[in-house]
């Protein structure tokens, strides 16, 4: 008879095992021991069809003589009133379930399958309430079989104790897409090592020794998924030395191919993946939002979605929110369809015209404005979904207490809590708790950064949850629910506008979930508080004051300065921070050189004590532009600063006219580097044909071939964006930048007789008129 072990620890990894059910890796709370445990985990899936087809399937399954249990049961389909009669197929292990389903979906493709392709970690979390990084109490035999396992944790707790993970960082010394790395840099526990790649055998032996000695829980790699792990494998095969990358003996690396897919009219690229068993592998460049929320955010995604940490790191927030919905469904005993088949109900063209709209946009008043408050609805769409019980199964039903959706001939059932609001509620509550805690927290507080990362992870989940209501591949999506959310959103924004106007505020701009308001004499946070309360009264939805701008510039369209552009602005908050949207420095395809100069221009403007004094910064901006342009022409700007990054939207063969990115990709193709749609290509603009130079070509280009005129033009456009609200005309800016014209005077102050023949003024200012609520210069 085996003895028992009892301990507390954290769940690190979970994966299926064909013989033992599931394998669980736990980190003991002593921080030293790691436990490999196994547990039987019979796994079921369900099949629905007409009686004849189900009987045929039953007979077929019986004929296979597999260790499975078959039974006819009734389960709840989210979209049906009554429970659905289904065939339950219970397999001994998750691996067996996966194999059998794979076989059946090709042999019996016409049947409707439920709970058939759910990741093991989510099934496990649904059944046991144990999720990745959950603190648990475990009772296991000496042989490692779990006898009891309970979670002492909840994904909705804040201030959970940090998990003492041992982290090993592996990074090649340069980007392998660009040139062959020379060294592998290793960091762990404050120690740094450098192993030359040319000493192949030595590298493997040293790395193996480190892996064995430190036994890291987490391998944090740079270019790990798309280069390093493959490289190490090649070396292992060549020298017949095995690295224990996975903790699980005999299990190597799980590979997934790179792929691309279309989503919302764009092409999304997903790089290749290398996942380990019993040890977490996170490859920073292949981790979604790593730049935004880092490891803390990845851990939070795993905790709240229930996905394996390695999976949570690599999937989109949309898959994350979908996983959370699946988890809720499993816990409520609701069937999870393999493929969503619910279709849009037939509606009249008139109804479609009413319903098929997005968020409300109220075009901004072009120009410069002082003392403007920005008020945002807090997580507007998720709040609407939660507050009004919008879910695919509640829309279009009335019940005893049904509510009408504004504008639409649609009701929402309020008698039964929807699956989507149920999923969102704890997430929204946790996010609000974190935001409240962060608001009063010293940024040096040890909790500050983890809270920020967690909050950011929540933000992405909440942002995508709305899109997923209408997303084609969402298991629990429905277009009517999507339309109901936007209808409520438009109504809420209109009510907010009415509230603002009733209280004497002037609304300058509204954009989906935010509004920009101004009122004579209102400049402090407290001056806008009554409006926030009134909006809450009228909409039932919470808002927050994003801040009060010292000044803000709403920009016009470039071709027609009379036409405003929504969500294109820059503004300086009273606390000295910037908020910038829709301009060059926010774009991925703007070079760092242009972005930095645009930021420098903004920082010069920030020196002005108020909007009326902004024009006093023009001589400095003039000088800045001249200096930066001179540096460009004298080749003093590094090539890295000039890099342009653009996404390939299609395969090279599909381009009718090759874009700059496609021409750069074609150069790479010639040397055997194949890019697929969705991937970004880095390049420089060069003189002559083909006009670009792909950065990942083996040789650096001669700086003399850089198309400085093109970069100067790009800078001119970016500079004009910033200067246009100050009344600078594009032609004037071009004189300043390209003809050595000196700075004359603020716009509108040059005498009529002034021309290029008249000596221009130096750093001379004419007095500027006082600035009212809007800039009189515009």
């Amino acid at each position: 008879m085996s003895s028992r072990n009892e301990f507390h620890g954290w769940l690190l990894d979970i994966y299926p095992d064909p013989a033992q059910g599931v394998i669980l890796w736990l980190l003991d709370e002593d921080g030293i021991r790691r436990h490999r445990l196994h547990q039987a985990f019979p796994t079921a899936f369900y099949v629905h069809s007409d009686n004849g087809s189900l009987r045929a399937l039953w007979r077929y399954l019986k004929s296979l003589s597999l260790p499975i249990q078959l039974s006819r049961v009734e389960q709840q389909d989210l979209f049906r009133e009554q429970p659905l009669p289904v065939l339950k197929v219970l397999t001994k292990t998750p691996s067996a379930q996966e194999q059998l389903f794979h076989h059946l979906k090709t042999s019996f493709p016409d049947l409707t399958y439920y709970n058939a392709d759910i990741p093991l970690a989510i099934r496990y979390a649904a059944q046991t309430h144990v999720f990745p990084l959950a603190r648990c109490w475990v009772l296991a035999t000496d042989e490692g079989e779990v006898e009891a396992l309970e979670t002492l944790d909840s994904p909705w707790m804040i201030d959970t104790p940090p998990v003492p993970l041992r982290v090993m960082v592996l990074a090649p010394d340069c980007n392998p897409d660009h040139r062959e790395p020379v060294e592998l840099k290793v960091h762990l526990e404050g120690k740094h090592y450098r192993f030359p790649f040319k000493e192949e055998r030595g590298l493997l032996i040293k790395l193996r020794a480190l892996l064995r000695r430190y036994d890291p829980d987490l391998l944090l790699t740079v270019w790990g998924d798309n280069w390093l792990i493959t490289k190490l494998h090649q070396l292992m095969e060549k020298h017949q030395i095995t690295l224990p990358l996975s903790r699980e003996q005999g299990r190597g690396v799980e590979r997934r191919e790179e792929r691309f897919y279309h989503s919302y009219g764009g092409v999304i690229y997903r790089g290749p993946q290398a996942r380990l068993f019993g040890r977490i592998h996170i490859s920073t460049e292949n981790t979604v939002m790593y730049h935004d929320y880092g490891l803390e955010g990845v851990f939070e995604m795993a905790r709240v979605t229930g996905l394996r940490i390695q999976t949570a790191a690599r999937v989109s927030p949309g898959t994350g929110i979908s996983s959370m919905q699946i988890l809720t469904a499993l816990r409520q005993g609701v069937l999870v369809p393999w493929h969503k088949q619910q279709v849009e109900r037939l509606k009249t063209a008139y109804s479609l015209l009413q319903a098929d709209r997005g968020g409300m946009v109220y075009q901004p008043t072009i120009g410069l404005h002082s003392q403007v408050a920005e008020i945002d609805f807090i997580s507007m769409y998720p709040s609407i979904m939660e507050h009004f019980n919008i879910s695919p199964e509640t829309v279009g039903k009335s019940g005893a207490n049904g509510t009408f959706v504004p504008e639409l001939e649609m009701t929402i059932d309020q008698d039964h809590r929807g699956l989507v609001p149920d999923t969102l509620q704890p997430l929204l509550e946790k996010r609000i708790k974190l935001k409240q805690a962060l608001a009063g927290m010293n940024p040096k507080d040890i909790r500050y950064l983890p809270y920020q990362a967690q909050s950011s992870a929540h933000k992405w989940l909440l942002v995508t949850c709305f899109g997923y209501l209408g997303y084609k591949n969402a298991r629990f999506g429905r277009i009517e629910a999507h339309e109901a959310v936007t209808a409520y959103g438009r109504e809420a924004l209109l009510r907010a506008k009415e509230a603002a106007e009733d209280l004497g505020y002037r609304v300058l701009h509204m954009y989906v979930d935010g509004l920009w308001v101004q009122k004579e004499g209102a400049s402090k946070v407290a001056d806008f508080q009554p409006l926030l309360e009134e909006i809450l009264n009228r909409t039932g939805l919470p808002t927050s004051l994003d801040g009060v701008y010292r000044w803000i510039a709403f920009l016009s369209s470039r071709p027609d300065p009379r036409v405003p552009v929504a969500n294109r602005y820059f503004g300086l908050f009273q606390n000295g921070t910037w908020k910038v949207r829709g301009i060059e420095m926010r774009r991925d395809d703007t070079s760092r050189w242009v972005k930095n100069i645009q930021l420098e221009m903004l920082n010069l403007l920030a020196n002005a004590p108020d909007a009326g004094k902004l024009v006093e910064q023009l001589p400095r901006i003039h000088s800045l532009l001249q200096t930066r342009l001179a540096a460009l022409r004298e080749q003093k700007v590094s090539l890295e600063e000039l890099l342009i990054s653009q996404k390939l939207s299609r395969t090279l063969g599909e381009y009718k006219v090759l874009s700059s990115a496609a021409r750069a990709a074609a150069q790479l193709e010639e040397i055997g580097k194949h890019l697929i749609p969705g991937q970004r290509v880095l390049f420089l603009y060069t003189r002559g044909k083909p006009g670009v130079y792909a950065w990942d070509l083996p040789e650096r280009p001669d700086p003399g071939v850089i198309d400085t005129d093109r970069y100067a033009e790009l800078l001119c456009r970016a500079a004009f964006t910033i200067l246009q609200p100050l009344g600078i005309e594009e032609q004037t800016l071009r004189w300043w930048m390209f003809t050595n014209a000196g700075y004359g005077a603020p716009p509108g102050f040059l005498p009529d007789s002034c021309s290029q023949e008249i000596p221009l003024l130096g750093d001379f200012f004419l007095p500027t008129p006082p600035l009212g609520l809007s800039n009189p210069l515009i």
Binding site: D110, E344, T348, L352
Partner: protein, 175 residues
Amino acid sequence: MELITIPHSPTLQLLVAPSSFQRKAAITFIAELAQTGPVRVLDGGNRFDVLSLNRELRRKDLLLYTALERIQVARAFTCYQMTTLLEQPAPGGIPTLVLNLLTTFQDENTSLPERLRLLETSLYHLQKTARHSPVLLILHPQPTEEPFLALIRETADRVWVFEQLHHPPVQLSLL
């Protein structure tokens, strides 16, 4: 446009045309059909342009609201949804226009054999519907959609193909 018979009798017709023409044709047919009675529109591309339809209905001096109420629309976003939509028979034998049928069958998340199987199922249901009501498929196929298009052509009772007009090169005037 006048070349094509507006489907009034139970048949399955296919119209293959360049993008701009097929959009215009769809609007014209829907407006024409809405003049006389109800019409069902099933859209696989989420490109049903109600605003252009409004313009067309106004030009025909129809009561706009009445005409819009006669047009029943449903959209499919996946090939599974499209198959489910097509399973539903046209109520009362009203004409059915299917727009952008193949868009949902270009889903890279579903295997090619599975998509072909679903298309066959869809076509089976379309044929069933066409026994009782007129059905018109309007397509602007992409080069990658050839295997799918071939299946549809085999199924349709009548096929209209409009090709892009290629202007021959013109000698520039020397003056």
